[in-house]
């Protein structure tokens, strides 16, 4: 086994710099699984408290703005489309279009964050934020609901920010030719990360906004 590996290694070295796309891909997916577990545990907390304080959760959910949440869902889904199309454009060796589509994805990411900021701001104006004295006077279930709301949407927004930064790197790499149709790993994994952010929102949105 080890001699086989050693031979394989030598063959690789003889022909080209060592590359292992399958290994890279598995590594990226393992990282995504840690992200799923991170959000997953928070979703379990949400489920347990929903079970314990069903009426409070329904009342608090009614205070969230459904049209705004729906708008942000559409923005994020569309950004996932433009990211997928950016990768597809690079596979077709259309560098300019790929960069353009990543630019559009970044615009959608910013839109999402701005909308989210307005939403949080509106809640702050109603004295709804973690530790707010006004909020602490309300039923326990509602306090827990808003605690989870700020934790989970905040953690999600942080992922949108990180995803946006990674897309910026992908734009720069594609422009310099470091990432191309022949070496697409960086843009592909950027896409995977971006879609994961979308995936989390697919569950976050209805569970927080639509249970009233």
């Amino acid at each position: 086994m080890s001699s086989e590996l050693a031979t394989a290694h030598r063959v690789h070295e003889a022909h080209a710099p060592h590359r292992d796309p399958v290994g890279l891909k598995i590594g990226m997916w393992l990282f995504l699984f840690t992200e799923i577990t991170l959000f997953g545990t928070l979703f379990i907390a949400f489920a347990v408290y929903l079970h314990a304080y069903k009426l409070d959760f329904q009342a608090a959910s009614g205070e969230l703005n459904v049209p705004i949440g729906t708008l942000n869902t559409i923005v994020l889904l569309t950004s996932s489309l433009t990211m997928a199309l950016a990768i597809q454009a690079l596979q077709r060796r259309d560098k300019t279009q790929s960069i353009l589509l990543m630019g559009v994805t970044l615009l959608f990411a910013c839109t999402f964050l701005v909308v989210k900021a307005f939403e949080w701001n509106a809640k702050f104006h109603h004295h709804i934020y973690p530790g707010s004295e006004v909020l602490l006077l309300r039923p326990r279930g509602e306090i827990v609901f808003f605690g989870l709301y700020f934790t989970m949407t905040g953690l999600h927004a942080l992922h949108v920010v990180i995803g946006g930064i990674v897309i910026l790197f992908a734009v720069s790499r594609v422009r310099k030719g470091l990432t191309s149709a022949d070496r697409p790993e960086f843009i592909e994994y950027t896409g995977l990360y971006w879609h994961l952010v979308d995936l989390v929102w697919i569950y976050l949105f209805p569970l927080f906004y639509l249970i009233s």
Partner: protein
Amino acid sequence: MEHEIEHPHVLSRSAYVAVWAALICLTGVTVGSHSLELRHLAILTIMIVATVKSSLVLLYFMHVRFEKPIVPIMILVTLATYAVFVILTFSDYSFR
């Protein structure tokens, strides 16, 4: 093998747009069922529609459908592990 990896399956633009349109429609279904006040179905509907949506994202946007079997197998193992977390938490919580 190498050849296959370096030239992955390329979906057409219209295929991606079709998946996106399906995702938007399903969002409409969830929001619509909420405004129609189908309350007793709410959580179940939400989870089913969200799972259909996330499957579409995984299979097409994240290309899982065109990957080697190792990727879908790893995803299933992760989901099974997560299911164990959920079951253990709820079995603990229910019998307190």
